[in-house]
Structures are given as structure tokens and as C-alpha cells.
């Protein structure tokens, strides 16, 4: 329950930087993430990651090690605890160690960079996070992606496409990836790496080899810009959403890569028409979006879909679900329409 989420203070509810960063670093299979803070911060986040991982059929997570700050550490400084923890995890020879800090660590002023900078043997990557002191959930995601990109060097182009910043806590993360892969395949393109989703440390080296980066959504533009500056890789700012998004996406990717997309667009128009036919029975039904998604883009896309299928959106209409993030591609729209049809028939 929140209290008076004033627009000026909307950032109060934008989530924890640490959680955002962990949603990235825990997808590097052979790395260990160290969370410098009290055990509770690690447990809270692990519990969330555990739940979402089970939803996505991902049973095991890579180790999350807490420095276990106690009251004494908080009073006298926690750098010693971090130093000891790093020695312990480095001895296990992981692919990399990611070090994330917490609110309390920034408050007491531990010099995390200094402690990590003194370590050798495996890459020790500091990801700037500090709970609410560090920004929002999305800040944590972006900081982690930029920090991990630092592990990649120059690479020869291999013609592939990188997927950047998938929402790893999203229930439909695999289905959304599959839809984007389907569209890329229509253009004869394949995925280079999913940065970062279920990845091994040494795969990160090929980050700069892609001809194009596709960002999950526009909140990752700072990451896209960083990668463009570092590797010269252009980017598409978002997955395709809604009924008309896929064609625009195909054209945009083809234009950036210098590919003829006429055949791919034709196929997509056919699928779009087939979808319109398959759900023609919904035309004229009254629906309402309650509650409205917090993201205005989600609301806009839902309105577009309703209009395309000639549904009447009225306040007295049948409440239908509207996802927090807009459906990805035509396939995502089809799944949403099945849910709307179920609601109308309930």
C-alpha cells in the first residue's frame, strides 16, 4: 500500500536499484554476485528471484553471497567484511565476481571500489547500486548492463544481433524473446547474445561483434548509447509492441542493417490479417481497462488493439486485463486477445 504517490515523488515507488542489478547479474551462469550489506537485503532479493525463476522454469540460480554486515560492521565499517568475503569467493575461481552495494553501505561510506580494486585472479566488477540511494530498479538494470559490458573488448563483426536488457523478472520473458527471434529470422538475421539472459561469462566477449543491438524498451537507451559509443553498434530502442509494431520493427531493423524487407513485411501483413480474422467475433463487444496500466504506453497500445478489433472501450464495459508492459509482437497481441475473449465469456 502506498501513500499519496505525488507525481513529484513518483520515484519513491520506482523500486530498488539492487533488485534491478541482481536481475541482470544472476543471469551470468558461472559468476558469483556479492551483495555488500546485511543478510536481509540478499534474502529479500533472492526470495524474489527464486519466485520469478520458478515461474520461468529456471530452478537453480548462481550463488548470491552476502557480506552479512552486523551492527558492529555498521558502526566500525564494513570494508573488512567485504574484503574477507571477496577472498572466499575468489578462491572458488568463478568466471567473474560482481559486487553490489546496499543503502546502508553507502550511508556508512564504505569504499567498495578500493576494496575490489585490490583483488586479482578473476574479474571483480563493481556495479554501482545502493538501494534507494542509487536510483530506481531501472537504474540498477542499466548500471549492471553497462558495468558488465566493460568485460567485452573489440571484436570482429559476425552479422548477429544482440538482445539487450531483457526483463528477466517478466513472466513472458522467453515468449517475448521468441517473438523477436521470429521477426529477425524473417529478415535472415540470428541472435548473437542475449545480454544478459542465461549467459556464460566468456560469451560477454562477443558483445561488440553484433551488427545491431535491440533494446527491450526505451528505458535502456543509456545502455544503447553506451554500447554505440564503445563498439559503434547501432540500436533499435524497443521491442515491437501492439498490432502495428511488428511491421514498423521489421522496417526499422532492415533499414539499419541494409536488408530488403519486402518479403518479411508481406508475411507479417498476412499474419496480421489472419489475427484480425481469428478474433473477428470480438467486434462490437464493450470492454473497459480497469485498472489502467501505470505506463501510458501500455494504455495507448491497449486502445490501439481495441480499435483494430473494433471493440468498444467504455467505462461500463466488461473489465479486461491490461498487462503492465504492452504485448510484444503479433503473437503477444494474440495471447492478450485470448485473455480478453476469456473475460468476455466469463
Amino acid at each position: 500500500m502506498t501513500l499519496r504517490p505525488l507525481p513529484s515523488n513518483i520515484c519513491r515507488f520506482a523500486g530498488c536499484t539492487l533488485t534491478g542489478a541482481l536481475s541482470v547479474t544472476t543471469h551470468v551462469r558461472d559468476a558469483i554476485t556479492v551483495v555488500h550489506g546485511p543478510q536481509g537485503c540478499t534474502h529479500h532479493n533472492f526470495s524474489l528471484l527464486h519466485a520469478t525463476s520458478l515461474d520461468n522454469d529456471r530452478i537453480a540460480l548462481p550463488p548470491l553471497v552476502s557480506t552479512g554486515l552486523s551492527e558492529t560492521d555498521v558502526i566500525f565499517g564494513g570494508e573488512g567484511a567485504l574484503d574477507r568475503t571477496l577472498d572466499t569467493v575468489i578462491a572458488r575461481d568463478p568466471g567473474a565476481v560482481f559486487v553490489l552495494s546496499t543503502c546502508i553501505v553507502d550511508t556508512i561510506g564504505d569504499d567498495v571500489g578500493m576494496v575490489c580494486g585490490a583483488k586479482a585472479g578473476v574479474p571483480v566488477i563493481v556495479v554501482p547500486t545502493a538501494g534507494f540511494l542509487g536510483g530506481s530498479f531501472q537504474t540498477g538494470v542499466n548500471n549492471a548492463l553497462i558495468a558488465l559490458a566493460g568485460m567485452a573488448g573489440p571484436a570482429d563483426r559476425n552479422g548477429g544481433v544482440n538482445i539487450i536488457g531483457e526483463k528477466n523478472l517478466e513472466y513472458e520473458v522467453e515468449e517475448n524473446f521468441a517473438e523477436v527471434s521470429r521477426l529477425l529470422a524473417l529478415l535472415g538475421l540470428s541472435v548473437n547474445i542475449r545480454f544478459v539472459h542465461d549467459l556464460a561469462t566468456d560469451h560477454i566477449a562477443s558483445l561488440g561483434a553484433a551488427r545491431l543491438n535491440i533494446l527491450r524498451d526505451p528505458s535502456l537507451i543509456p545502455v544503447g548509447e553506451s554500447l554505440k559509443e564503445r563498439f559503434g553498434t547501432p540500436y533499435i530502442p524497443a521491442y515491437p509492441v501492439g498490432i502495428s509494431g511488428t511491421v514498423a520493427f521489421l522496417e526499422s531493423v532492415a533499414d539499419t542493417c541494409g536488408i530488403d524487407c519486402r518479403h518479411a513485411v508481406e508475411e507479417e501483413h498476412t499474419l496480421r490479417q489472419q489475427t484480425l480474422d481469428d478474433f473477428a467475433d470480438l467486434a462490437g463487444a464493450g470492454i473497459s481497462f480497469t485498472p489502467l496500466p501505470p505506463d501510458p504506453e501500455g494504455s495507448r497500445v491497449a486502445q490501439d488493439i481495441a480499435q483494430a478489433f473494433r471493440l468498444d472501450v467504455t467505462s461500463s464495459g466488461c473489465p479486461v486485463p491490461v498487462p503492465v508492459t504492452p504485448p510484444v509482437g503479433i503473437i503477444g497481441v494474440r495471447r492478450l486477445l485470448h485473455r480478453w475473449r476469456r473475460a468476455l465469456h466469463a
Binding site: 500500500m1 502506498t2 501513500l3 499519496r4 515523488n9 520515484c11 519513491r12 515507488f13 520506482a14 523500486g15 530498488c16 536499484t17 539492487l18 533488485t19 550489506g37 546485511p38 543478510q39 536481509g40 537485503c41 540478499t42 534474502h43 529479500h44 533472492f46 526470495s47 524474489l48 527464486h50 519466485a51 520458478l54 530452478i59 537453480a60 540460480l61 550463488p63 548470491l64 553471497v65 552476502s66 557480506t67 552479512g68 554486515l69 552486523s70 551492527e71 560492521d73 555498521v74 567484511a81 574477507r84 568475503t85 572466499t88 546496499t102 543503502c103 546502508i104 550511508t107 556508512i108 538501494g131 534507494f132 540511494l133
Partner: protein, 376 residues
Amino acid sequence: MPECETPLWPCAMTGAAACLAGFEGISVVIHGSSGCYYYPATLLHAPLHGTFILENEVVFGSGDRLREVIGDLSGKGGRIAVITTCVPSVLGEDIKSMLDGTDVILVDSPGFAGELETGYRAALAVLAPTTDPERWGVNIDGVSLSDPFYEGNVQEVSRLLHCAGIPVGTVFCRDWSEMAGHAAPLTMGTNDDFASGVGKYLGGTLGIPALRATFENLSTAYEGADADPVLAELDVQEERVIHACDKYLRRYDPPGVAVFAGTAYALFAADTLKQYLDAEILAVGTRNDPLAAPAGQYPVEKLTGLEQVARKIAEVSPDLVIGSSFERSVSGDRTFVGIIPPLRGRVRLAHPPLAGTGGTLHFIEEVLNACMDKKT
């Protein structure tokens, strides 16, 4: 506190929230960041409020924000309780004086102060519950919103007390807030890890032997109590347990078991499986520090991290793992039964107990069905 790989137990702040949010009429405010708020809000399934402080409030003081939130809640009935998280706790602000003139309960329970039970006890101590010698009934304690079995436990022990002709006193901590100050003089427990220390303790209700002793104590301590119906029920239901376990043992060997839970539930599970199924208890790993050294016959050690648990499971190679879905995630194809949070990956709608007669029946039923499903 040494480093810990993948800690499996919530912090003291969550424990304080689990205690206070159990009382109707108390509005609980988590004074800290959004990250600290969301975890207890999702774990406890209770309405919590938050101050959601930001960096400028850490630098310039969080008093205005705290007063803003309290102002929003004031006048809406009931008391307000503020739980401080790690950062406000070390900022050195005099939160108590900020709250002068308000009827606000302040619990300093930052995450670094310890684990779930530490915060639960700290919050209960601030509430300072008292007994009322005139109050009829027997209190039920050991109830924490963090426990997936708490509702079933309260229903089951309430039923047993009703069978004995005794009204329920105060339920710690799931009751109206004013009941904390008018508790009955006698208490029985559902989970000693969350013992209230209020009133004279009659005993626990986990497992049939404990139930028998507790209700025998009740019959002598409470004038007019008629424990005979409960004791008779225990005999009948225990016979059913014995019959079901005996039938299982006619076809199958008893399982080797590794149990991971809070101390009270872990020992209940181990004792029950040993007694009725002749199970070999290969390991008991507790999440928390036992209040007293367990006098059981099994190796008991505190295991707080997932890798420790995984190593223990690999070391003792049990047939059956009892724990949470954390344990299940590192148990491979072993048979699993869940008794502590989180219990992910299963639909749970009903409120089964672990305490009381029904608790033992439910637990044995789960174990036997899980073991037999694995065999077939």
C-alpha cells in the same frame, strides 16, 4: 555476522512487521526505502505502509517525510507503528522525539540487528502485552504472518480449546490490538520460535505427545476445563496415523530424511517422522538459533544459506527433504514436502495446520503421499 551464501531467512525488520501487522487496529509503517517495503509486503500479505525515503531525506533528514506519512494515517482509527530499517536506524535522528505528542509505537528493528525472530520479539516487547487475571480463556501464541501455516494453526488450536470448553484468549500475534493488553493468564503455543512469553505457558501443540501433555496441563491449571474430549480425539487420530504409517511400512522402507526449518517446526517434523514412520533423520538444519539446545536424538545445526543446505543434502543423500521451495530447488528428484516459507510452485488455497491434531494428520498425509507418489 559472517558472510553467507544465499541467505534463506528474512531479517529483523520483516520479523517486526510480521508481529505488528498481525494486530488489527495497528497501521504499520516501514520507515525506509521502497526495497525494504516490498519484501515484507509480499511475504506477509498484510496492508503495510511505507515512507519510501529518498536520498535527499537521508542527507537532510527524514522527519518531514515520516510526519507526512503519519499525518496521512492519523485520524483513520487505530494506532500507528513505525518500524525503522537499516538506514534510518543509523542516521542518528531522534525519531522518538519526532513522534512526541503522537500515539505512535516505535520499533527500532533494522535488518542488521538480526533475523526474523529477533525483530518479532523486539516488536512484541515494545507492545508490552500484559495479562488480565479476570480474562477467561487460554491465549494462543507462536503465530507469525510469515508462517504459511499460521491461519490453519489458529483455527485448529481454537477448535481444540473449544472441544475442551475453553474460550480463546489473545492470539499472539493475530488479534485485535487492544487484546494484547488483556491477555488471559494461560498460554499454549503453536510455534516456540515465536513464543510470546505472555502468561503461564501450558506447552506446545506441535505433535501428538506435546498436545497430550499440554491438554493434561490445561485440565489441572484451568478450573472447569474438560480436556477429556481432546485426549480421546488424540487417541483416535493417533491410531489413524499409526495405521497409515504401518501400511506404508508393509511395502516400503522408511525414508532417510533431511529437515530444514525454524527450530520448532524442524524438531516437530523430525520427531513425528521418527516416531510414526521409523524414519532415519539424517540431518536437521535450522534457520534460526534455537532458544534452548534441542535435546533430540538427531544432529541439529544452524544452516542459513542455500549452498550450505545443498552441501548437506548432497552429503547425507536423503530420500525425503522437508523444507521450503529453496530446498526443493537444490533437491533434484528427491521427494519433497514443504513446511516453511517460501512454498513456491504450488497452488495453496486452503489453510492446513501443522499444530494440533489436524497438523500432525496433515503433515503425515503430505509425507506419505509424496513418498508413495515417488515410488509409483
